[in-house]
């Protein structure tokens, strides 16, 4: 049995330590807001926070999570998270929406570390998150909008 803290709650999971956190979240804990896109850390759809830092759940063995606090799109909260969600809604960023959990988790990670990111900072933090609908222009605008809210 492995102990896992997800969104503040502790879960006991009976699984191979090699099992990726992504599939534990989705298939064992029914936290389906975290998405599967590629399984090889190329698309960022599975981005969660480990102790507040963005991480790709598809490449995180649950055996390596240890005592780190896992936060998913369903549980992320606080001033930065609210600013990001609010900006995403204000600008109607989403299209199909499938990648947006990961986009939002990466954006929150960026703004938590850098409250006033430049376009180059946004490129750097967000280039690992693919949006096949091509919503990048609005993602960029929403990050700037959230930064204004937080200022």
């Amino acid at each position: 049995m492995l102990k896992l803290t997800v969104n503040g709650a502790t879960h006991e999971v009976d699984a191979d330590p090699d099992m990726p956190l992504l599939w534990v979240l989705r298939d064992r804990l029914d936290k389906t807001g975290t998405k599967y896109g590629c399984g090889i850390a190329q698309c960022g759809a599975c981005t969660v926070h480990l102790d507040g830092q963005p991480a790709r759940a598809c490449q995180t063995r649950i055996g390596d999570v240890g005592t780190a606090e896992v936060t998913t799109i369903e549980g992320v909260s606080g001033r930065v998270a609210e600013a990001v969600r609010g900006a995403w809604r204000k600008l109607d960023v989403v299209q199909c929406g499938y990648c947006q959990s990961g986009q939002i988790m990466s954006a929150i990670g960026l703004l938590a570390a850098n409250p006033k990111p430049s376009d180059a900072d946004i490129d750097g933090a967000m280039d690992g998150n693919i949006c096949r609908c091509g919503t990048y222009q609005r993602i960029r605008a929403a990050i700037h909008e959230a930064a204004r809210t937080l200022a």
Partner: protein, 734 residues
């Protein structure tokens, strides 16, 4: 009153014909599923502007004031749920904050796409176009029923009653009621068949920015996609598919797979070997442990390079004539100057973010519930029912939010749904089965945009006017080789292959368009804008080359040929004006390129601003102008064009699916990399004001991007890159 014009039917004709035929074929070939093809609807009653008001099919008003709009289409990101709800809610004068949506069940009679015959489905940028009058009438009828109920209850003349923002009001007696209070009595009122529709001046939401209805659920993780379906006791299936198209299972050893913890069963099915497990990870591990021997005797073993080389040879022979006017060959003989160009296009995967998947569950009474991103409900229902050996009414489709599609979920044979149903049958339907395709399955699974080759010869007179144009293309048709070939392909010509070129709006005095159909064993399918993905590029780059050869400005040159296409000319002019066309390039290696194209009844002009250097192209800015008739939600229209740019850019710069000896080489985003944030240009979208009935915008932003960029690269460097993806390696610095 708004003048309702017919949606331009010509561009849809081929696909509509296909879908009608496909449904019939699904019935005839598969299960005896029947459509009412003999009824008035098929005989001409499908005119989208003449449908009767059906408020009960499309709107439900709750006692709590919620207005639920039933959405008959798939929303794969286009935002059509918001747009369709807006159309109805405006006529209803609903309070937008109380509007919700619900995806319709499969029911072709109620929810058929009016531009696709009696088939329920989403495609061809038709969701708004076919629903426009239908939903206006539904909303207006529901409004009249609420008014009638209030007039009856209050004993006042209906003509004195006003409706605003979800409240029905009688001014003279100062009485008012919310929709919810009147819903029950309104439901007892007769349904007006021809309710009075608003004048455009009365619209409160149509034409305005109305917030998307899916933004909240898609930003907190609560939106449910089919990959998120969790039914009690559900199991997950992953399938080992053959490495080459056309191969089948010869034998397999599942000993090691069955020893993987969590694996429950292994079954051979027609498309491969399915591993069924308690969760996705176990199913994937189980598949890795399988040893399968494939029978490749009928498999496609050619490489994509070889297929294209064969196409190039084939183009030298006379093809099937898809379009002809005048004597193009004769005109070219007398031309002052002849230009020749060839254009090649690779296979492209749709690569939607959510890989294909579906859940099928048997209910206690032997009927089935299907949870998927359903895009061709009528056909999907028929195929699943046939596979499971039940009648279509025993299959209930629960359409979910789709994580993209770009055409891939609308497959004539409902391929992945048939596979899910096959697994359910093979395992005795003991538990709900969730079939999950991994990214690799999705990418290597075929149904690509076809690889295509175009060869063009065009002649100019001494003043630079076009005297003749000969065009030959080679590509695999989507329909030929399918069970629908005999029914749907006219004289060997598939309209979805040649659209956008055989019907060019340019006034070419002599034109001959020939097509050869490729026959390789690689499954092909429509990919966001279908034939226009390649025809627009060949046409718009060639026109640009001719303009330069004639030494005429490329915008002016096009306009001189678009006398019979005023809406396309209008979009082109607006794009050019907004982009600052005609100004000198601010720096070396930077240039503007233009393209204009009509598809699915919509008109788009686009100007690309690029910086090109040795081995690289950076797109700085895209300015687009669109004429789609009424823009129901201008912000979503802009989003669709922004998204079309982001979606198509990687296909311009690098994407291709290649086959080596028949084996797909690009199986994940490392080898087939979509556009990323740092590459996204600034996109400006301008909408031509219009009161013409709306057409669609899901697809029409795509075709113009590649030629606009290629033409800009020429302006920046003087080098013509014709093949897609652009041969950046061959690009020299300036």
């Amino acid at each position: 009153m708004l003048k309702i014009r017919q949606p331009t039917t010509e561009p849809h004709a081929s696909r509509r014909a296909f879908l009608t035929g496909a449904a019939a074929a699904a019935g005839a070939l598969v299960i005896g599923f029947r459509l009412d093809l003999g009824g008035a609807r098929a005989a001409g009653g499908l005119d989208p502007a003449s449908v009767k008001a059906q408020p009960n099919a499309f709107v439900r008003i709750g006692a709590d004031d919620t207005v639920t709009v039933i959405v008959k289409h798939l929303d794969m990101g286009q935002g059509n749920t918001t747009g369709l709800a807006t159309i109805l809610a405006d006529e209803l004068d609903a309070d937008w904050s109380r509007v919700r949506t619900e995806f319709a069940p499969a029911d072709a009679a109620l929810y058929g796409n009016l531009l696709m015959g009696p088939v329920q489905g989403t495609g061809g940028s038709t969701a708004i176009a076919n629903s426009w009058v239908q939903l206006r009438k539904a909303g207006a009828a529901a409004r009249e029923m609420l008014v009638a109920a209030a007039a009856f209850d209050w004993r006042v003349p209906a003509g004195q009653i006003t409706v605003e923002n979800g409240v029905v009001r009688h001014g003279p007696t100062n009485r008012q009621a919310r929709f919810g209070e009147l819903a029950a009595s309104a439901a007892r009122m007769p349904v007006p068949q021809e309710p009075r529709l608003k004048d455009p001046s009365q619209w409160r939401m149509i034409g305005q920015r109305v917030p998307r209805l899916d933004s909240a659920a898609k930003t907190d993780g609560s939106a449910v996609y089919s990959l998120d379906i969790r039914r009690p006791n559900q199991v997950t299936a992953v399938v080992a598919h053959p490495p080459r198209f056309g191969a089948t299972v010869k034998s397999f050893d599942d000993g090691a797979a069955r020893r993987v913890a969590g694996v429950l069963d292994v079954v051979a099915i027609s498309t491969g070997v399915a591993v069924i497990a308690r969760d996705t990870w176990a199913a994937m591990k189980g598949r890795e442990a399988l040893a399968v021997t494939w029978d490749e005797s009928a498999a496609e073993r050619r490489s994509s390079d070889a297929i294209l080389a064969e196409y190039r040879e084939k183009a030298k022979d006379p093809g099937l004539v898809a379009s002809e006017r005048g004597d193009a060959a004769g005109a070219l003989k007398g031309a002052a100057k002849v230009l020749e160009a060839e254009f090649s296009f690779p296979y492209l995967a749709h690569a939607a973010m959510e890989p294909l998947n579906a859940t099928i569950e048997r209910a206690g009474d032997g009927s089935y519930d299907v949870y998927a991103g359903c895009q061709l409900q009528t056909i999907e229902q028929a195929v699943i029912a046939a596979t499971l050996g039940v009648t279509a009414d025993k299959v209930r489709l629960h359409t979910q939010w789709a994580g993209g599609s770009f055409g891939r979920r609308a497959t004539p044979g409902a391929d992945y749904l048939a596979e899910a149903a096959t697994i359910v049958k093979a395992t005795g339907a003991k538990a709900p089965v969730h079939l999950v395709w991994t990214r690799e399955d999705d990418m290597a699974g075929g149904y690509y945009r076809p690889t295509v080759y175009h060869k063009v010869r065009a002649g100019l007179d001494a003043r630079g006017g076009i005297v003749g144009w000969q065009h030959v293309m080679v590509g695999k048709s989507i329909m030929i080789g399918s069970p629908f070939e005999a029914m749907l392909v006219k004289n060997g010509i598939d309209g979805t292959t040649v659209e956008g070129a055989s019907d060019t709006p340019y006034a070419l005095p002599a034109y001959r368009f020939e097509v050869h159909n490729g026959r390789e064993g690689v499954p092909v399918l429509w990919w966001r804008s279908v034939g226009h993905t390649h025809t627009a590029h060949a046409m718009e780059v060639m026109i640009d080359e001719l303009a330069h050869a004639a030494d005429v400005d490329p915008v002016a040159y096009r306009l001189s040929l678009l006398g019979n296409a005023p809406r396309l000319a209008g979009a082109l002019k607006l794009a050019a004006e907004k982009a600052g066309w005609g100004k000198a390039s601010p720096e070396k290696g930077r240039g503007l390129g233009v393209a204009a194209h009509q598809s699915f009844g919509s008109y788009v002009g686009m100007v690309a601003d690029v910086t090109a250097g040795a081995g690289s192209v950076k797109v700085n800015r895209i300015v687009a102008a669109v004429d789609i008739g009424v823009a129901v939600n201008p912000d979503i229209v802009r989003a669709q064009v922004e998204g079309a740019v982001g979606f198509a850019l990687s296909a311009v710069l690098r994407n291709r699916v290649t086959l080596k000896d028949g084996v797909v080489q690009e199986k994940n985003f490392d080898a087939y990399e979509p556009t990323r944030m740092s590459e996204m240009p600034v996109v400006e979208v301008h909408i031509v004001p219009s009161e013409t009935a709306p057409t669609g915008i899901g697809e029409p932003g795509v075709p113009v991007l590649a030629p606009a960029i290629a033409n800009a690269v020429f302006a920046a460097t003087g080098q013509r890159l014709r093949a897609l993806p652009l041969d950046l390696a061959g690009l020299k610095g300036v």
